[in-house]
Symmetry: C2
């Protein structure tokens, strides 16, 4: 079938996804909001969340304007295509909008979920469905806006005179321009993850340290002044932040694959038809995935009075159903597109899907109290907090082994399938890298559904908070707790998925960095290309643009014995740690201010005994300010270091930086997410009473609470922020590729 | 001057160093041992330490025999020179012997230092000198044996018929064979660091958790059954382990530089004279450093009744004096050798010396309570143990920034100085890499003295233990405490130095891996060279042996876009974490057994109240068994993974693995060492009473003790073990280089 015809699936899928997002949103709005007290609580959370988001978008807007101006100047000097500054903005705006809508939905939904749970007959089921479909609004908005942005720009660039050229070379130009759109999404994601992460954990740690540890309050006790901020944080970090993170991976993987596909055909001197097939494949697979995700959402339903494990099964049914359908449909798409090696590429896609699932399973193994690692940490609570921390760090570090092995085997598999052979060589490098990109697309094709289960978590968590604060009684709270427990499992899997997809996406972005350099060099035509302050010319621009990847790497000496590459790897690995350290301390500082505020409010006997309402707004304000203030420096580092590295150490240094940052960041992110998750559940295990050493407010439980508190910034601030770091550094290098070669003009 | 004549400085320096080691040892033995109780305590520690070391050497011996047999088989099939199995053993034996002598000295010395401190008039000064000169036994033994091993093998290989060839190519062959000797030292160091690290921290954590936290004993309270094991641990980990670690760096940096120097001259088609100059330079600089270190040791003396800061100044005077003299002498050596670019190489050496000092200073900044970071952690103790941990991890992660920047700038500087230009290019690559190696030699040239200050720490720590357990009274204990405090400062600096030198040494080893591959390929002559199971032939052996580094890297596709390289980097980074996680958990498990033992002994009222002697031997046994059992798996991983990576992913994969392991391991090691050190001193800061929140046994102090306990395995087990991991993986790859190409024979 004609690829151009099939392309229309992309905007169609985008509209379908957005349509169903709207339907789920308005259906949710129709549900009953419950008692006045419930409305009041939900109102606090909603106001706090929206106030924060507005504040964040203000800061982000300033950054975006500055960078758009810089890009404009670069474009004026021929270092970038003129469209980039505008496209950069649309990426950022759509990503922000998806987060905004998702979060708005979540804050409307949670009170209503609590209300649904009050139904004595069908509460659990009604709550599940409402929470899940509200979560689906985020999933479908992210996917819908992503596909909309991609298809709109493709149509504009293909059909107007903005891009010159013919055939494959036009495709290469279009796709490499489109790739730079991802930068906007990336930057937006950075602020959402870092700012949101700091917000949520400052509130959480602050609320726990005083409320739980000093006063032995329960979670979400309305007397605790930080409790609203804590609930706001769930939305800000886990809904808006997670959405922006995966929006970036989603768009990034599709765009990088398209660029790699066009480049692969160009370097093999293929036809325009073949080029179009390669460019269309990732987009259409994304589109098909979006449509089938909607179907999967409708599968998630359960009979009345279902048990917990039946609920889990209902959720899994939806995910498995869509996954299998997408895998089958992908084969059809590739075949219909007329791609010669359609079976091989299909293999790459299936590998991506499977790796995503496997990483999720490993994450579950290391963070669920069904298994040995968490039980081991819980046992270590019997000898106090120090051994809880030591064992948690040990478990987290060991847990990095399998995800790396899966990524390594998956990448090798995806490469070889796409390359259609059992050997790595410079001849099949382009196609192999395309295979890695398309594996990332495969992994992310279920995103509409995966994100729905992710966003489901904080919604049901907040529903529980609402129930507690509104004093809804034990039976309602037990139902919201059940929903929340389900959410904890999906959250752990979701985090593994987010990291895994970030790694594959970043690998694809790293590969497409070369294409950007070639395009930038080509634009300079006769000029000598010099790629850092301290290097001699490597060739004329027009010549550099024609080199294949292997030639390129060898001419630029991007080999491992070039000290610039080795040292770049050092800097990249260090940057992951620096970034984490800064965000850890940011949480520490903001949490300290929160602790002081909560302590001073609870010093008032009337507040402590519930006769006087706590001042929630002050705590919300502290988290908001803390997040805003603290997110600036880590964000600047992520943007500035790749540019400076390029300036002084050239392309070789940048490659080292990206590789070191990617590998170091991935491993560190897995460690932090899994340690954090394991501590959280070790505490829960001790609370369940199934452990031989159980019960709240014992010294053993107190020791496990220390682990949980340390784990908070691990798993919800620093760890997830690394997902963005590894993608953003590649994006910054891609977008500023032209800057690297500006020195040839001096 | 004739390099061959100057060479005799090397064995001469070796004998001088060993002679003074013997003098210091016998002088120490002459000192008074003190009361019967003091002798008894010292006896327990000595017996425990020797029993452990014997046990460890038994396990190590089994490994060594197995590996020597494997090497013998490899040599039989032409995959390795016949001398390697024997040389492998001498490296291991000398390294083990140096550790043994150093530790024996330390266990004899500490009781005598306590006795010296009983002198009311001159106790502090006498104690300092005795402890320092006893520490110097380790420093001089390491340096002496290192130079002895190197010079003996050089003489044997140069003067017998064991190595064929003429001129430069003979030098290349000799130096690459000698390089493989380092493997023995490396493996010995691994067991010493990992086993010793597990031993010492299992004892320390176990002693603290029950003794300090549950029963509020003081450090070294004789009622605590784990206290002897704790004192043994200091010797096992910080003396024997540190000595073996630096023996390896010392020998490794000299051997790698010699190999790189010969290779650089060979690739520039230089004369045999030039080759000899390059090969001799690192050896002779090591020799001059050894002699001047002895001089520096004699400078460390102080007038009677000196204050603490005067003592520190006395120590620094010795170090600075030797450092400056060595720098000057190095210029003379290079000039006398007749090296053309002697000034440039001298620059590389000075850079190495300066980087070592700078990394030490940064370590001090992040781990001393004179400065902001530790105070910040101490403040965080006011909000409980969780914030102590969060802030300590934050500080440790941030602290990785400067050491990486220093290593990066130092490496660039050393490269450019040696290469004699301001540009990196494939033409000056060989000389530049030689510059990196010689910078490592420069950094380590003061080792005799640096190790003396390192070993001084545990000796004075044990002296304090002896004083406490023998009930020597407050005034003696205050003097031993003063000596101990001095030791804590030098320990932090020493750790930074150990990591920094490991990184530079590993960089040099990585570079010399290529030379090993070329020699191995050359040995196969006409055979097709295939460097992994999944790759096609790259050329005939004889041809491969002639390639320069740039050609080599490009033919083997060791570029950053080769997925095997990228994935190797992932595996390398992951391995550092896995290795740390395993050792962390090993400490956790062994400490748990210790806690149970101590608790059960203290359940006896008579033991608790000091009427019945605690059973120290059981605790010593638990630590010994724990260390032996737990060190096997991490050690196997370090040896096996590089071999497997080579098998499946070839040379490209191995390069990635080494680079990823080096960068990831270095950053992780700095993080762990500094976090651990900072926690330790945050606790001490709170104990001093200078903090606004001070005093023992308050909740704030308890919170800081949690940090200190978590920090124990960070800074004394996992962190330092990484030093070995990054060097050993290179060593394993170097020694098994021939294995990589065996596939060409299949």
């Amino acid at each position: 079938m004609d690829p151009q015809t099939l392309f229309w699936l992309v905007p169609a899928a985008s509209l379908i996804a957005l349509l169903f997002a709207a339907i789920f949103f308005f259906n949710m709005k129709k549900a009953d909001e419950g008692t006045d007290r419930m409305k009041e609580i939900a109102g606090y959370v909603r106001e706090g969340a929206m106030a924060y988001l507005k504040q964040q978008y203000k800061v982000v807007a300033i950054f975006f304007v500055i960078i758009a101006v810089v890009f404009g100047v670069m474009a004026y000097f021929g270092l970038q295509n003129n469209i980039v500054p505008v496209a950069f903005l649309t990426g950022g705006i759509f990503s922000g909008l998806a987060g905004f809508i998702g979060m708005k939905t979540a804050t409307y939904a949670s009170g209503r979920v609590a209300e649904a749970c009050r139904d004595e007959h069908d509460g659990l089921n009604r709550g599940l469905k409402l929470a899940f479909r509200s979560g689906a609004v985020l999933g479908l908005t992210v996917v819908g806006f992503g596909l909309l942005d991609i298809s709109a720009w493709y149509l504009i660039l293909d059909n107007t005179g903005l891009v010159q050229g013919e055939g494959v070379s036009k495709l290469v130009e279009i796709t490499t321009i489109m790739l730079t759109f991802g930068m906007g999404a990336s930057l937006q994601a950075l602020f959402a993850r870092v700012g949101g992460g700091i917000y949520t954990k400052a509130a959480d740690v602050g609320a726990d340290l005083v409320g739980k540890t000093e006063f032995h309050f329960n979670e979400d006790d309305p007397r605790n002044p930080a409790t609203i901020a804590d609930n706001v944080g769930d939305n800000v970090g886990d809904v808006a932040g997670m959405g922006a993170d995966l929006y970036e991976s989603y768009a990034g993987s599709i765009l990088a694959s398209a660029a790699l596909g066009a480049a692969a055909v160009a370097s093999a001197h293929g036809t325009a038809e073949q080029g179009l097939q390669m460019v269309m494949a990732p987009m259409i697979i994304g589109a098909v995935g979006a449509i089938l995700s909607v179907l999967g959402i409708f599968i998630v339903r359960t009979k009345q009075g279902a048990t917990q494990s039946q609920l889990m099964a209902a959720l899994n049914r939806g995910i498995n159903f869509s996954g299998v359908l997408i895998a089958l449909a992908a084969a059809g798409v590739l075949y219909l597109l007329g791609i010669e090696n359609w079976l091989g590429l299909w293999g790459s896609i299936v590998i991506g899907l499977v790796v995503g699932i496997l990483i999720g399973k490993v994450t579950e193994y290391y963070t669920s109290f069904e298994y040995k690692p968490v039980k081991f940490i819980a046992e270590n609570a019997t000898t106090g907090p120090a051994t809880v921390i030591i064992s948690g760090i040990g478990v987290g570090m060991i847990s990095t082994c399998w995800p790396v092995i899966f990524i390594v085997l998956g990448t090798i598999g995806a490469y070889l399938c796409a390359a259609g052979g059992l050997e790595f060589s410079s001849a099949n490098l382009s196609m192999g890298l395309y295979g890695i990109g398309i594996a990332a697309v495969g992994m992310l094709s279920t995103l509409g559904l995966t994100l729905a289960t992710d966003a489901y978590g904080p919604i049901s968590d907040n529903a529980g908070g609402n129930a507690e604060m509104s004093g809804l009684g034990e039976s309602v709270r037990s139902r919201t707790d059940a929903l929340d427990a389900l959410g904890n499992t999906t959250a752990a899997t979701g985090k593994g998925f987010a990291i895994g997809s970030a790694a594959l996406t970043a690998l694809a972005l790293l590969a497409s960095y070369i294409e950007e350099l070639k395009i930038a060099a080509g634009r300079l035509g006769d000029a000598d290309i010099t790629l850092s302050l301290f290097s001699g010319p490597v060739g004329k621009g027009a010549e550099v643009a024609t080199w294949d990847i292997a030639t390129f790497m060898s001419k630029f000496e991007v080999t491992l014995m070039n000290p610039k590459v080795l040292l770049g790897i050092f800097i990249g690995a260090m940057l992951s740690f620096l970034f984490c350290g800064l965000t850890m301390n940011a949480v520490g500082r903001a949490a300290k201010r929160m602790v002081e505020e909560v302590r001073s409010q609870l010093a008032d006997k009337d507040v402590l005994e519930g006769r006087k309402k706590a001042d929630y707004a002050r705590c919300v304000g502290i988290s908001t300010q803390g997040a805003q203030r603290e997110m600036i420096i880590p964000s600047l580092i992520a943007v500035v270091v790749p540019i400076l590295t390029g300036l002084f150490m050239g392309v070789a240094g940048v490659f080292g930086l990206l590789a070191g940052g990617l590998a170091g960041g991935f491993v560190l992110a897995v460690f932090m997410a899994n340690s954090g998750g394991a501590w959280d559940n070790a505490k829960k295990f001790i609370e369940t009473g199934d452990a031989p050493f159980c019960g709240k407010h014992t010294p053993i439980h107190d020791a496990s609470v220390v682990g949980d508190t340390v784990g908070d910034p691990f798993k919800d601030t620093s760890g997830p922020s690394l997902n963005i770091l590894i993608k953003l550094m590649s994006m910054v290098s891609i977008v500023t590729a032209g800057l690297n070669i500006v020195f040839s003009l001096l």
